[in-house]
Symmetry: C2
Subunit: 147 residues, 2 copies
């Protein structure tokens, strides 16, 4: 894990600092996407709020994480598996559970191709499905709190 974190940072020409290591670790450990507020909580407010903003921005610029749009004014971020600075390849679906609040990347479900009206050119597609996730399905005994 330590090596993986250092690797990601160095590969992206970011200096290896406490806040970056810790926040990147959070993303690696987390099963789902994280909003700014989540990160503040999970670091125990160890870092200045501004540092968290700046860290997220630089991760976003480098393509280490991607943002997941939402209609609730709480943008969430998740690790990019195959993104680079030039090319965001987030061709997967995001799932937002209304029960536990978790947002996860469904890496295996690919965004279907669609036919746009004449004249439109598509560059990027975001698909966010909301509903109930497998851990919150009624009758599921493995229910667990959001991480």
């Amino acid at each position: 894990m330590r090596d993986q974190i250092n690797g990601i940072l160095k590969r992206n020409l970011l200096s290896v600092t406490e806040s970056r290591k810790k926040i990147l670790e959070l993303f690696l450990q987390s099963s789902g996407a994280l909003a700014h507020a989540d990160i503040e909580k999970k670091t125990g407010e160890k870092f200045d709020r501004v540092t968290v903003y700046r860290t997220l921005h630089s991760f976003l610029n480098k393509g280490i994480i991607h943002s997941i749009p939402s209609a609730d004014n709480a943008i969430r971020y998740a690790l990019c598996k195959e993104c680079t600075e030039e090319n965001h390849q987030d061709d997967h679906i995001h799932f937002q559970c209304k029960e536990c609040g978790n947002t996860t990347c469904l890496e295996d479900v690919h965004v279907p191709s669609i036919v746009l009206p004449k004249g439109f050119r598509s560059e990027r597609i975001e698909m966010v499905v909301s509903g109930t996730c497998k851990d919150c399905r009624p009758g599921n005994m493995h229910k667990k709190a959001p991480m």
Copy 2:
């Protein structure tokens, strides 16, 4: 138009006030979705900022408009064609143009059905495509500014 606006408000048990009429008129005239800031600009700041927030909230509650998620922290709203208070039927794709900034509902392009992993139950799907719209396509001479 006047009749249509009154009709929508009365049907939804909202009293017919200046701000509601004006903001609803904006949506009816607008080719695309509107963010809070757009509405303030287009009304010439005629109404208090708080009134705009409250008007948007009540329209949203009544199902008169729906929100369009985005990754840029600027939630946009668009008229619902077939939504009711209980059932938001926004089964269409939203298109966000990177050139003119307009966000439009592609009413004719329906969200394709997808197969989720076992255990997931889908309630609502949001699909936002970004790229270049037909009016901003290179070589298109009918280019026009965002409304």
